[in-house]
Symmetry: C2
Subunit: 340 residues, 2 copies
DNA sequence: GTGAAAGCGCTAACAA
DNA sequence: TTGTTAGCGCTTTCAC
């Protein structure tokens, strides 16, 4: 059953006016007599008239909505970022359309295609873990479509970017482990194709460079879906546990990797931190309720969402092509608890 | 900078054809010569033509998108339900527009207003905790707008509803506490205005009715924002702790209430379950990593999302007004762990 | 102060 | 096989 709402035409016919008069009256134009205005306004309220946003979009060639593409809304980092995005969007009268890729490249391409075909005026994206080819994004960007990257950015597309200091966050976490006396520190990261994975591993390496111990290649594990699949984490952890000397600490470089690594360690009966210490990127609000409470690297997700959105709106509303792009780098926050 | 995409007209002019020919060629109509088709298709691909969904929506008077209104996407129950919703929507070519109320009635009304003014073809909603007046929903429903309720339903609006057996879920949880030997069992519920709160409290009462112990009024605490605000949980728990005899178990009737109650108990240095046992509704995937692992009532959130969506699509695509409505009640699942 | 007409991008009934 | 025209709901010149 299609739902039919009232239109300007309905009002015009009922009141014996023209659609243009009604339109002007509704927008409170000065060239309409107050008598007519009142008449129209009253009737409009009575029949519960609301302008059709689709017709408006078609006319104005803009939808006043922005698209957001993230891996998973069930990920605390992303849901917090989305809250930041929504808060700015709401204030400026924009609507937010959220899509999830579930770390799938195909989904990312499909969603992008749909959103970009003018149902949104611009796009905020944190690319999926399995995205290696960036052509879909490049093509869109080349055609002048406003895009802002946040969190998982694409380095070689020239536009605004919002991220944290991944290198530093990883460096701090690893240094913390070193200072606590851990000697054999492994790292679980997302795919090497993502810049955040590379940066976080680089931060880890740099911290280790300060010690005598050189990190063997075997201590570095990349996982294709950033830990979304429990199996990949299970496999990586099992391999780490076979190493001699066995790692006495693990640094996990993203939200899902952290919680799933903890899950795997527990299921194997490995005690944290007595057997293996654990520190990781996570924005979960449950970390202090975990056993043990986790030491985490926290990102200012809400602020990142806010910032990325204001930059996107600048892009959308700018009259002339933007040539200068911002690269905002926020600080992470190491919260030390009992897991290290 | 507005982003200008190619239109059918562009193609028509470039190729010296009429827009209708181009339109038909693109849709692979049988009445177009294959030569023309190929010409058009090639050119369209070359200039990266994509149909404008807004123009289509205006023409077809449908947007092929559905709206979802929930309290918080950062809530595991809702994010799982949304995954269910998206899976069905994607399969049927619908887009999903998600909005959060953050448990605010005002936000709910605003969002509803926007979505309903024809930017979506139908709506899935789990009403906000602070919603008491249902007029905004009733008005919309009366005008024939397709709505399906899930989780937090509105009893006196006649449409499809998808929920769990709240009574039974609460009954099972409470009975479990009784069987474990707990004598003074308190309950933390959402606002009494929500049917799920009333049903869950009723289930709790029924289980207690089986024992000699009558639950005092003081053991039942309602909270306006369903535990979203830590303060309300803090206050309720503090009041419970002052009771004599002091409760030895708490049943929490929703996701946020459960985790925030645990947070409050921990911050007060109260051990679970030695001092007070805790069981609650929760769909968090971290419960087994908590300290202690929580005994929870789990809802089939994904299935609820799927089911609600198929019912909504039925409503949207039905040719005639639907008179018979489904009331789907799914089973909950009690997962017993160390907190009880 | 009000109305007629054109146009946003697209499809479809009707002509040719 | 292709073109012309009208119309989806709205705003905005341009007339009157």
């Amino acid at each position: 059953m299609k739902f039919e709402a009232a239109t300007i035409k309905d009002i015009a016919i009922a009141l014996g006016l023209s659609t243009s008069t009604v339109s002007r009256a509704l927008r409170d134009s000065h060239e309409i007599s107050s008598a007519t205005k009142q008449l129209v306004l009253e009737y409009a309220t009575r029949i519960n008239y609301h302008p059709n946003p689709i017709a408006l979009s078609l006319k104005e060639k803009r939808s006043r909505s922005i698209g957001v593409i993230v891996a998973e809304i069930a990920n605390s980092f992303f849901s917090q970022a989305i809250n930041g995005i929504e808060s700015v969007a709401k204030d400026t009268g924009y609507n937010v359309i959220i899509s999830q890729t579930h770390e799938s490249y195909e989904r990312e391409v499909m969603t992008l295609q749909y959103l970009a075909s003018r149902s949104v005026d611009g796009l905020l994206i944190s690319v999926s873990s399995s995205t290696q080819n960036m052509d879909h994004l490049k093509a869109l960007h080349d055609r002048g479509f406003p895009i802002v990257f946040f969190d998982r950015i694409v380095e070689d597309i020239k536009t605004h970017k919002v991220m944290v200091d991944n290198f530093r966050g990883a460096y701090d976490a690893t240094l913390h482990l070193i200072n606590k006396g851990y000697k054999h520190i492994a790292v679980l990261a997302g795919p090497e194709t993502l810049s955040i994975s590379r940066e976080r591993v680089a931060g880890y390496m740099e911290a280790l460079a300060q010690t005598r111990v050189k990190p063997g290649k075997a201590l570095i594990k990349y996982s294709r879906y950033s830990g979304l699949q429990l199996e990949e984490v299970e496999q990586a952890v099992s391999q780490l546990l076979k190493l001699r000397p066995r790692p006495d600490a693990i640094f996990t470089a993203s939200d899902k990797l952290t919680t799933n690594c903890m899950r795997v360690l527990k299921s194997k009966g490995i005690r944290i931190p007595q057997d293996i210490a654990l520190v990781g990127f996570s924005n979960s609000d449950l970390i202090e309720l975990l056993h043990p409470p986790l030491t985490v690297v926290r990102q200012p997700a809400f602020e990142m969402g806010e910032l990325a959105t204001s930059l996107l709106l600048q892009l959308i509303e700018s009259k002339r092509p933007v040539k200068e792009f911002e690269r905002k780098i926020l600080a992470t926050n190491l919260i030390v608890q009992a897991s290290t």
